[in-house]
């Protein structure tokens, strides 16, 4: 299909215009309403969750008698009270909302107390006596691998004969590197309000990226039909993947209390509970082997990619698929074996987080590339260049998709030229020669990120558009607003389609009764699929209006033109509102649904091959960091980004996505450390112990450029490209720059092992290790140049 190519701008708020977020004024005045801000309905109950204190335990007894008598308590419910099925698994099955006889992580909800207030629920919960028989927990990747315990059967991406190629290669490296998980730390913690209605109807106001899955999950848990459940989402206070599947259980618990008590029920997880109870980014441990030529060209790469999937599969198979499909990053790898091992552990289920496995896969291959460079003693960017995807057979990914839109060579060369990479690298050398205590490092990170859900089915979007007789427009679509600016972008698309000012378009909340059977707003696909669906719906209405206008003017429909809030037939024109009224009088339907399915994608989950991505998006970042060799403290000094966004639908919004994703990625790789104790308790469960970046941590020189004149090669909505996730991976440059600085403390004689996050401790220990191995100046009190 051929998509709309361009959008003109003789209206206010057309596609490609820089517009602020549609709720910006409501944000700054405090008028924007989030679920917890909704005026309470009379009789609303608040839910206090009672969670397992043990990582692995059999629940042998539950005594709630005394708690039930406590003041304000309306009900206390456990797995046995669930009228439907205790399962909200998004992909597989048997993923309970309340532990049923077996607790599988510390923090797993066991009971909910529904009371008049949260504090009363909490007081009552102290009177509950749950008997546990504690079992040995499996907390680490190694323990799980030893027991052969996985959340779903492992799968691999394989091409050619990696072992043979490594064996035959002139040079080889091998090693290990790990990256930690990451808490989403959306400022609005998980929340849902369920309101019972007539019959068995239930309305759920949820903070979710996936209203349809909440709808399905609630129906499943309550044993009712999907059409009994209405889910509405006006906005989220941040999500980042954390409300893709994890919001479903929260909403289902609220719905359970509402259904069983007949009263509205709200569950808002307090921050510590949110961090303990709900899932996070997958941590990974990579073991790699690579064979390559003297020039650094990779022949064979083998990576074991093991993750702590947690207590259940959740969406780990999707995350792993994306990790496996992004461990090539921008590099052509002739012989590949990537084995994905989803270890089942007694920790909270790992889940979706911006990048969805992509960042982890890329971190692994960039380590391989840098290790090769260190082994050969060559500049790492020479090794990158020689391995980039190219032509003539060197353009097929390990999973079989041909890379047709590759611009990584031009893009990285342009960025390196524009920031004078060589001059900057020399300045870093000079600084290091002159300073004993502090050392700088510099690095480039190229990114190629595949756009579309790996699973083709999910790549569909729907919209519902009404035009009223005064020419005002009601816009609804299946995408959700979590701050990323999807709503304003889709409104811009509709403004452009109708050629009317954006303020004529009402942006409305996402509702499962308006657009059904939607996909999660995830995989960066929000504007691609919902924007196109809205365009299709608006185009349908526009054609009907054109027919009415043609009748009115006595011209052919094809000669009717929508332009600048008016509808033209030659020199004559009427306003858009007049045309809407005309169309109504002519008994044209002014309402339409739009539906879009992403074309030309395929995926075979058995062989892990296909062309799952409609297109790739590209970007690169050069980062410079400084470390303190006495303490391991670090700071990012500069970051220069060049990011491909196609023909941006809204450069202001896209800029915000790039900057925000980069800083979030930086946090993942530097200060954000999740620590569990030996019994499986999360020790970092609030902002006092879990440190996301603050304003001072942003590089003082932070230059973000959007690649100009780079329309998408495939016909996406107005030739734009997705932007939500790709820039997060640019932050890997920060970690690479820190590792470069560490390597320089050992005169770059050895390749440092630096796991992520690069906390002060990780950096200092890496420095010690490098110095020891480089056998240089043993005294920590003496620096070297």
């Amino acid at each position: 299909m051929s998509g709309p190519e361009t959008a003109t701008s003789d209206i206010v708020g057309a596609a490609h215009a820089r517009l602020r977020h549609d709720s910006a004024v409501k944000h700054v005045t405090g008028d924007a309403v989030y679920v917890d801000d909704m005026p309470p309905l009379p009789g609303t109950l608040e839910i206090f969750p009672v969670v397992s204190p043990h990582a692995h335990a059999t629940i042998v007894s539950v005594d709630i008698a005394e708690a039930l008598r406590a003041p304000g308590v309306a009900g206390i419910f456990g797995a046995g009270d669930i009228p439907g099925k205790n399962d909200i698994a998004p992909i597989f099955s048997d993923e309970p909302i309340l532990a049923d006889g077996l607790a599988e992580y510390a923090g797993q909800p066991v009971l909910i107390v529904a009371a008049d207030t949260y504090d009363l629920g909490r007081d009552a919960a102290r009177l509950i006596d749950i008997g546990y028989e504690v079992l040995d927990p499996v907390l680490t990747i190694d323990e799980a691998l030893e027991k052969g315990q996985f959340t779903y059967p492992p799968h691999s991406v394989v091409r050619g004969d990696a072992e043979g190629a490594i064996e035959a290669a002139p040079r080889r490296v091998s090693g290990e590197v790990s990256c930690g998980g990451q808490d989403h730390f959306y400022l609005e913690s998980q929340v849902a309000l369920a309101v019972p209605g007539e019959d068995r109807d239930i309305t759920v106001h949820a903070s979710t990226q996936h209203p349809t899955e909440v709808q399905r999950g609630v129906a499943h848990v309550l044993g009712i039909e999907i059409n009994d459940v209405l889910v509405e989402v006006r906005r989220m206070g941040g999500a980042f993947g954390g409300k893709e599947t994890q919001a479903t259980g929260i909403a289902a618990l609220a719905a359970l209390a509402a259904a069983l008590t007949g009263r509205p029920a709200k569950l808002r997880l307090r921050r510590d509970d949110d961090m303990i109870v709900t899932g996070k980014r997958h941590d990974y441990r990579f073991r790699y082997e690579a064979g390559f030529g003297e020039d650094g060209r990779l022949e064979g790469v083998k990576i074991e990619m093991a993750t702590r999937s947690g207590n259940v599969a959740d969406c780990s198979s999707g995350v792993m698929a994306r990790a496996l499909c992004h461990a090539d990053n921008c590099y052509y790898l002739p012989h590949v074996r990537f084995d994905g091992l989803p270890c089942k552990t007694n920790t909270v289920s790992a889940t979706a987080f911006r990048g969805f496995g992509g960042p982890q896969g890329m971190l692994a291959i960039e380590t391989v590339i840098e290790h090769v460079a260190a082994e050969l003693g060559k500049p790492v960017d020479d090794i990158r260049r020689i391995n980039y995807y190219g032509d003539g057979g060197r353009n097929v990914t390990p999973y079989g998709q041909t890379v047709k839109d590759n611009i990584i060579v031009e893009l990285t060369e342009r960025l390196m030229r524009e920031v004078d990479f060589e001059g900057r690298a020399r300045a870093v050398d000079d600084f290091n020669a002159a300073n004993a205590t502090l050392k700088k490092g510099i690095a480039l990170m190229p990114v190629k990120f595949g756009i579309s859900f790996n699973l083709p089915t999910l790549n569909q979007g729907g919209a519902l558009v009404h035009v009223y007789t005064d020419g005002s427009v009601h816009l609804n679509h299946g995408g959700t607003e979590m701050g990323q600016g999807l709503f304003v972008k889709v409104a811009q698309v509709v403004a452009s389609t109708f050629q009317i000012d954006i303020d004529r378009i009402k942006i409305s909340s996402t509702r499962t009764d308006k657009v059904p059977n939607t996909s999660a707003t995830a995989a960066s696909s929000g504007s691609d699929i919902n924007g196109m669906a809205a365009h299709i719906a608006a185009t349908e209405i526009k054609q009907r209006m054109a027919r009415a206008a043609a009748d009115h003017f006595g011209v052919e429909t094809g000669s009717v033109e929508f332009r600048a809030n008016r509808v033209y037939a030659g020199n004559e024109s009427i306003s858009f509102a007049e045309c809407a009224h005309l169309a109504w009088r002519a008994r044209e339907s002014l309402s339409a649904t739009g539906f879009y399915r992403t074309p030309d994608i395929s995926w075979d989950a058995k062989t892990m091959t296909g062309s799952p991505f409609y297109y790739y998006t590209y970007g690169a970042c050069i980062a410079e960091a400084v470390i303190d060799t006495l303490t391991g403290e670090s700071r990012v000094l500069k970051a220069d980004i060049l990011q491909d966004v196609g023909n941006s639908l809204n450069p202001a919004i896209d800029m915000g996505q790039i900057e925000g994703a980069f800083v979030q990625g930086m946090g993942w790789l530097t200060s954000e450390e999740l620590v569990w104790d030996e019994d499986g308790h999360l020790k970092t469960h609030g902002p006092s112990t879990y440190k996301i970046p603050g304003s001072r941590d942003v590089p003082p020189e932070f230059n973000v450029h959007i690649l100009e004149d780079a329309p998408n090669m495939v016909p996406t909505i107005f030739r734009s490209k997705a932007i939500g996730e790709p820039p997060l991976m640019l932050a890997i440059s920060v970690w690479l720059a820190i590792r470069d600085a560490v390597a320089r403390t050992g005169g770059r004689k050895v390749f440092p092992r630096l796991d992520a996050p690069a906390t002060p401790e990780a950096i200092l220990m890496a420095i010690e290790d490098v110095r020891e191995r480089a056998n240089q100046l043993p005294s920590p009190l003496t620096g070297e140049g």
Partner: protein
């Protein structure tokens, strides 16, 4: 008795609401003003930030605070501004306009808190001619977390909106100097009492009558019991209105700060005499925390990871304690007995802390190591006062935090250098003695090995710092 305060210019009188209800819960749930959010209930994210205005017209101060940590009685007599009170009809405050127009909002959940923190900055005391420096903005925003924007547009908006100050403009709160409500001595509701004495003797009496009472100053530590633990506190005695505890004395040979003096109010004098200490205080907590928290509280809660005690030990600070039986003085070093255990007797409280002024030939430095520069708890903090005379170390007073169950002097380190020549090798001797002084623990902040290594390595930083090495020593200062 009734609590009285003004909020966005409107007078509120409260009775019957238990005193452990936080200001945030009261504002959101009772007044239904839902702009301020609960992001963490521990004063770390800033989503609940509101502004307290105080002082006469023309000289009003506007201070950002965390409403989640303040209990309702803290508001007695206060003039509170929330995000709902800034806009004048459709006319946004310059901070709001700059944030909205400059793409400073994405999901919007943190935004009301940022707006209020920046409003306080815009109307704050900084002497800024025309342009505001990003460093000042970072300082003003150290207590506000945003997960969406990456901060760049927020900092730009702050520079734009706060750069040109209109110090005497009318505005919410500022235009109508409310007479502060009369202090309520004893507020009781829900079986809990909040006592707010106004003089030293009253304070002593109150504590003598209620020896198990919680002594509450700014609430930045104890406030968590209300905010997070939702505890009912039978009796709380608030120090914030005791005149003697609010005194600041700048004497010829020492500074003396009453126990209820906030970090913010103590900072100018500390910065004058001990710049390194002032830099540390700015990293202990955000402006919101510094506007509420007190040095007295930091001493009184006796945390092993409190940041001021190691400095105060190194500076030979002296505590004045007080009770109905009278005053008592003791070197701060002797005050900390064990983990969260102090030498305070029943009925006794901290009146003030006296810090000797720097003497000729003395150098004082303190270094804090944490995962994040701002608003983080130290893995290790070292404080060093070295007196050198005639090329020899005459006296050394060294203390560490994060290395033991209490803030603790490093006596072996001190002994290693005292009397020796002021040379690098003397400091290396001291570094070797760290392991004699300390056996630190491993926890989620850092391992024991890392803590010991850093405690040793900081002597190298100290040498390079004091001896004037021609190189930068702090990653935060690099451009």
């Amino acid at each position: 008795m009734t609590l009285e305060f003004h909020l966005n210019g409107r007078r509120h009188a409260v009775r019957d609401v238990p005193p452990n209800v936080t200001a945030l819960d009261y504002i959101r749930e009772h007044l239904r003003l839902t702009g301020a959010k609960e992001g963490c209930a521990e004063g770390d994210c800033g989503a609940c930030t509101v502004v307290l205005a105080a002082g006469p017209e023309g000289g009003r101060t506007f201070r950002a605070v965390n409403a989640c940590l303040l209990t309702l009685p803290h508001l007695n007599g206060a003039d509170v501004l929330t995000v709902e009170g800034l806009a004048d009809g459709d006319g946004l405050d310059p901070v709001q306009a700059a944030m909205a127009d400059g793409d400073g909002t994405q999901c919007g959940y943190c935004t009301p808190g940022f707006v209020m923190a920046l409003y306080a900055l815009r109307r704050g005391p900084e002497e800024i001619g025309g342009e505001i420096d990003p460093e000042t903005v970072h300082d003003a925003l150290a207590g506000n977390l945003c997960r969406c924007t990456g901060y760049r547009p927020i900092v730009d908006a702050a520079v734009k909106a706060c750069g040109e100050k209109a110090s005497e403009e009318a505005g919410p709160g500022g235009g109508s100097a409310h007479a502060p409500a009369r202090a309520t001595d004893r507020y009781e509701a829900g079986g809990q009492a909040f006592l707010s004495p106004t003089g030293l003797d009253e304070m002593a009496e109150a504590l003598a009558d209620n020896p198990d009472a919680y002594i509450l100053a700014g609430g930045t530590d104890l406030g968590l019991l209300a905010a997070k633990e939702r505890q009912k506190l039978p009796v709380v005695i608030h120090t914030g209105r005791v005149a003697e505890l609010l005194e600041i004395r700048d004497e010829p040979d020492h500074l003396e700060f009453g126990a209820a003096v906030t970090y913010t109010d103590a900072l100018p004098l500390i910065g004058r005499d001990y710049p390194s200490f002032a830099t540390l205080i700015k990293r202990i907590g955000s402006r919101q925390i510094r506007n509420m928290g007190t040095i007295g509280g930091n001493i009184g809660n006796a945390s092993p990871i409190g940041d001021t005690p190691p400095c105060l030990i190194a500076l030979d600070a002296v505590l004045s304690l007080h009770s109905r039986d009278g005053p008592r003085r003791m070197p701060i070093e002797d005050f900390f007995l064990d983990y969260r255990k102090t030498d305070l007797r029943p009925g006794e409280f901290i009146r003030s802390v006296r810090i000797p002024k720097p003497k000729a030939g003395e150098a004082f430095r303190t270094y804090k190591i944490s995962k994040r520069y701002d608003q983080d708890i130290s893995s290790v903090i070292g404080a060093y006062r070295i007196a050198v005379a005639d090329g020899a170390v005459r006296d050394a007073r060294i203390a560490y935090g994060g290395m033991a169950a209490t803030p603790k002097r490093a006596r072996a380190c001190e002994a290693a250098i005292t009397g020796s020549a002021w040379r690098e090798d003397a400091l290396m001797e001291a570094a070797r003695a760290v392991d004699e002084d300390f056996e630190p623990l491993s926890d989620h902040r850092a391992s024991a090995a890392y803590r010991s290594m850093v405690a040793r390595n900081l002597f190298a930083r100290l040498w390079r710092d004091i001896s004037g090495a021609d190189e930068p020593l702090d990653v935060a200062l690099i451009r």
